[in-house]
């Protein structure tokens, strides 16, 4: 179980998270939705240890992550797909994937499993990641995180800019991860897709979780989405 309790984070004087609490269970997909600037990315960065919280706790299976150095957190099985993909653009695809493998000293057999999920990557191993198309880069970003053999996966807008076909493919991968017991925290602007993928949904507004419920519940309360995301269900949240 990955638990966030009363998390407060600030950039300088600006308080961005004002007491965020979340629970992510193994095999659960938790959608974290909200407008731009609500604090979704900051929440993920804080869990990864890239930002030191001002208050609150992040606990992974009983272990307080606040006491750890940032590089120790991924080794416990928390992997990250950063916003904008965050690939190492001048490393080859193979080297990017190796960065994932090295986190928990996985061997190359793990890559074979990943190529079954993303067959197109096999052809691109020698290419610099920065020269790939957007969709391919997104696949590498997800594949790199999977190479780290995560128990919990934090994904920051993995669907951004993907063609519908790739969106379906990625949602399929998320479904497979769930089936294998991986907990996925999915930050997404594509509400429709996120609601389909998620078991539970948390809605963020100005640094707080304003609503939490099952995706099915939320589907029956379009007014809630309207209130916190400012959209009707059939539209994306504004860019």
């Amino acid at each position: 179980m990955l638990t966030v309790e009363g998390l407060e984070c600030a950039y300088g004087e600006a308080l961005v998270l004002r007491g965020v609490s979340l629970r992510l269970a193994p095999g659960q997909v938790l959608g974290l939705l909200g407008r731009n600037g609500a604090g979704k990315t900051t929440t993920l960065r804080a869990i990864m240890g890239l930002l030191r919280p001002r208050a609150g706790r992040i606990v992974l299976d009983g272990r307080d992550l606040g006491a750890l150095r940032p590089y120790e957190i991924p080794r416990l099985g928390v992997a990250y797909v950063p916003q904008g993909r965050g690939l190492f653009p001048f490393l080859t695809v193979e080297e990017n994937l190796r960065m994932g493998l090295l986190v928990r000293d996985g061997d190359r057999r793990r890559l074979e499993e990943i190529f079954e999920l993303f067959p197109a990557l096999r052809e691109r191993l020698r290419q610099r990641a920065g020269t790939l198309s957007g969709g391919e880069q997104q696949m590498v970003a997800t594949a790199r995180a999977l190479a780290a053999d995560p128990r919990y996966l934090l994904m920051d807008e993995p669907l951004e800019g993907l063609m519908p076909l790739l969106v379906e493919a990625l949602l399929g991968v998320i479904g497979q991860l769930r089936a294998r017991g991986v907990g996925v925290l999915l930050v997404e602007q594509r509400i429709e897709a996120a609601l389909r993928a998620a078991d539970e949904v948390a809605l963020m507004e100005v640094g707080r979780i304003r609503y939490q419920g099952t995706a099915a519940e939320l589907a029956n309360h379009p007014d809630v989405l309207q209130t916190y995301l400012g959209v009707r269900r059939d539209r994306r949240v504004g860019g």
């Binding site: 960065r45 990864m48 240890g49 890239l50 150095r69 940032p70 590089y71 120790e72 957190i73 991924p74 080794r75 990250y80 950063p82 965050g86 190492f88 653009p89 001048f90 490393l91 080297e95 190796r98 960065m99 994932g100 090295l102 986190v103 928990r104 610099r128 790199r144 780290a148």
Partner: protein, 288 residues
């Protein structure tokens, strides 16, 4: 015949000094590339390498041991500087420039106090002359060139083939994401800083039998390294290597046929030309 002999000599001298400069400049380029800091004290690591090599040669009577001891000692000094100076100021670009200027003077004046204002020679560990059709040439200088080339190759392998090298390149490109993939970036910074210092310390040690050890010898090394890094393109190790060899060869040729002063002027003009025409350097920012 005479002219071709001169040209050969000039190119040979240029190649030797270019390879030594490449070691020094590669260290500076590595530190700038991975850590994004301009290490103004880089030349002092060159000087320390030379002075420590002199010390160990004098104390142990073995230049071979000195050649090992100098980079190890300088690497340890660099690690201490990283831990005590650079890390506390969080590698902030402006602050590190000021801090390394301070480090430059501290190291220089410490050496002046302990070692004195002398230029001290060390006997070359090998004596032989290689006979070319026009002249004989110092065998030691050829050994220096070969060792420098081997070290450059080893550094290249380290950066392109090892886990540390991969971590260095990843940290250079995105330190936050590197951390999120288990990279202890502060240790990578420390390792890069020490490696950069050790490369230049070896270069300093290698030239002691040719140039003597002196407490101010770091300044020229720093200046020429900066030129190589700027001409080659900031952050590009490949560019730094190419530029160092180019500077060495130009320096050799112009020194032999005209004068050493003109050689420096030409090298500086090259820097100006690159900055005007291609501000990113000959090799743009990029991989290694």
């Amino acid at each position: 015949m005479i002219a071709s002999g001169h040209l050969f000599l000039a190119l040979l001298e240029g190649l030797v000094s270019g390879l030594v400069l490449a070691l020094t400049a590669l260290g500076l380029s590595l530190v700038f590339g991975v850590m994004r800091i301009v290490n103004v004290a880089h030349g002092e690591f060159f000087m320390l390498g030379a002075v420590i090599a002199w010390f160990f040669s004098a104390a142990l009577g073995s230049f071979g041991l000195a050649l090992l001891a100098a980079p190890l000692a300088v690497g340890a000094i660099a690690l201490a500087a990283d831990r005590l100076i650079l890390r506390p100021i969080r590698y902030a670009p402006e602050a590190t420039i000021v801090a390394t200027i301070g480090l430059l003077y501290i190291l220089q004046q410490l050496v002046l106090m302990v070692y004195g204002p002398y230029a001290r020679p060390v006997d070359a560990p090998v004596y032989f002359r290689v006979e070319f059709p026009w002249f004989g040439y110092s065998g030691y200088k050829l050994v220096v060139a070969i060792l420098a080339a081997l070290l450059l190759g080893a550094t290249w392998l380290l950066i392109s083939r090892t886990r540390l090298g991969l971590y260095m390149r990843a940290t250079q490109q995105d330190p936050d994401v590197a951390r999120a993939f288990g990279v202890p970036t502060e240790r990578v910074y420390a390792a890069s800083f020490a490696l950069g210092a050790m490369l230049t310390a070896v270069a300093g040690a290698l030239v002691v039998p040719i140039q003597q050890a002196h407490y101010l010898m770091g300044l020229d090394a720093l200046l020429l390294s900066f030129m190589a890094v700027i001409i080659g393109g900031l952050g590009s190790l490949r560019g730094t290597l190419a530029a160092a060899l180019l500077i060495g060869l130009v320096d050799g040729v112009v020194s032999v046929f005209f004068s050493p002063t003109l050689a420096k002027i030409v090298a500086s003009a090259l820097v100006a030309l690159v900055l005007v025409g291609r501000s990113g350097g000959l090799f743009g920012e990029g991989a290694t």
